[in-house]
């Protein structure tokens, strides 16, 4: 492994990943703040008022990034879970459990902001639209994952069981998505459609992309903070955690 490349496997051990994560967290917070300020100022100050939706549309600067992140985090979570299952890496399971609450938070945020947007635009807090329904099911999958991990005391078993569930969920997400979509179109003509006008003002798009980056960086920062806590908790019997804690005092 001494061929000049960074030895990535080194960071698979909690002992060496803990300080690295500690160093990275402030950077991700800074990036999240930077992108957030930039995205929100574009979103609220520079982006034009929408011709049809008025000012109400501005919730998409949180809503769309939250929806993207909720789906993306599930994939990342399943990736870590699968990696942990295949190579038996402790850290992977910890990453998966660290990501789950953030993913669930974003799924919830996406539904919540969607409801806030839907009331003035559609006149309803909730419609059984295909996207809304599948986002709701995604939230259920997150809750199931968290609940399963919480119910198992042995962390190794919790990791593996959660990993199997996450992978089964990933296989099912497309099936669920298409079934809900067909269900929606077959049942009745959709009274409302989420598809917006194809052309979107460039400013709106930039604001949204920057906000998505901000949410992304926030997710990484929070997941790293959470994984650090999980590491300390699970490795509390090891020497390096003892040494770390006694040095801090």
């Amino acid at each position: 492994m001494s061929n000049g490349l960074i030895n990535w496997f080194k960071y698979a051990s909690p002992q060496s990943f803990y300080p690295l994560a500690g160093k990275l967290i402030p950077w991700f917070w800074a990036l999240a703040a930077l992108f957030g300020v930039a995205g929100l100022s574009i979103g609220f100050l520079l982006a034009p008022t929408d011709a049809q939706q008025g000012e109400g549309y501005r919730i998409i600067f949180l809503h769309v990034p939250a929806s993207w992140l909720s789906m993306f985090i599930y994939l990342v979570m399943a990736f870590w879970a699968g990696l942990g299952l295949a190579f038996n890496i402790r850290l992977s399971g910890m990453m998966a459990s660290a990501l789950a609450p953030t993913g669930a938070l974003f799924a919830f945020l996406s539904l919540w902001t969607g409801a806030l947007w839907g009331k003035p635009m559609w006149g309803a807090w909730w419609v059984w639209d295909a996207r809304l329904t599948s986002e709701l099911i995604l939230l259920f999958l997150y809750i199931g994952f968290i609940a399963l991990q919480a119910a198992i005391d042995d962390p190794r078993r919790a990791d593996k069981a959660g990993a199997i569930l996450a992978l089964v969920g990933v296989v099912n997400i497309p099936i669920i998505y298409f079934s809900v979509k067909w269900w929606n179109t077959l049942h009745q003509g959709a009274s409302v459609s989420l598809t917006k006008a194809p052309s979107m003002a460039a400013m709106m798009l930039w604001g949204m992309l920057l906000c998505a980056l901000a949410c992304w960086m926030y997710s990484i920062a929070v997941a790293l903070m959470r994984v650090r806590t999980i590491m300390l908790e699970r490795e509390r019997h090891t020497d390096w955690v003892r040494a770390l804690l006694t040095n801090q005092e």
Binding site: I137, A161, I176, H187
Partner: protein
């Protein structure tokens, strides 16, 4: 291989026959849940006819859920499961046998009961036939997917509630296409598309579910 499969199915069926009360209880749960709906929403035949496919399918999901914990729990408790995991036959195959036995014990009775309950909801006879057919095709998928949840929650605190939390979201496609088939046939669209998709789900579920189930069982047995 096939002999092992047959042996597992035969063994599970024999065990189930020794404890018929369990099967009957799940069937009556199905009947009671379905009968509650007219009491809740009112006896107008038009409304009931529209609700029937959904109600019967949701009740079938719940009744299947009820019998899932027993799929592995008894074998886990008396150590049989460990012996099965040590057997030379792949654990996935043994799980497949248990899934088939579970369907014969828990799924098939629902299929048989459904037309009778459909009459209570004033379903026309062709819709009754489609309902029965959709349950016949769809319930194997319920047993297959449910096995994953049952294996994951094996020996876990609050397993029953947790099981429903894990499995019900995964049942949604089966519910959609199952109830959708009846709806489509009532509205004159023809149920073929729904039934084909349901068949695909059932085949996929029964074929693939034993492998994650076996993995989950090995995790539980560690």
């Amino acid at each position: 291989m096939l002999r092992a499969l047959r042996a597992v199915i035969g063994r599970d069926l024999r065990l189930a026959m020794r404890r018929q009360a369990d099967i009957v209880a799940a069937m009556f749960f199905f009947i009671i849940v379905v009968s509650l709906f007219p009491l809740g929403v009112g006896p107008e035949p038009d409304q009931l006819r529209r609700l029937a496919p959904g109600v019967l399918w949701v009740a079938a999901l719940l009744a299947t859920m009820l019998s899932l914990p027993r799929l592995f729990a008894d074998d886990h408790r008396d150590g049989t499961l460990e012996q099965l995991a040590l057997a030379p036959q792949p654990l996935g195959l043994i799980v497949l046998g248990k899934v088939i036995a579970h369907w014969l014990v828990a799924g098939l009775p629902l299929v048989v009961l459904a037309p009778v309950l459909g009459i209570q909801f004033d379903l026309p006879s062709d819709a009754l036939a489609v309902l029965t057919l959709s349950l016949l095709i769809g319930t194997p998928a319920l047993s297959g997917i449910g096995a994953i949840g049952a294996a994951l929650t094996l020996g876990v605190r609050g397993g029953g509630v947790l099981l429903s939390l894990l499995v019900l979201p995964l049942y949604i496609p089966v519910l959609i296409f199952g109830a959708g088939a009846v709806d489509a046939s009532v509205s004159g669209l023809g149920p073929q598309a729904h039934l084909s998709l349901l068949g695909a789900l059932a085949l996929g579920g029964v074929f693939f579910a034993p492998w994650p189930t076996a993995a989950a069982l090995r995790v539980a047995l560690e």
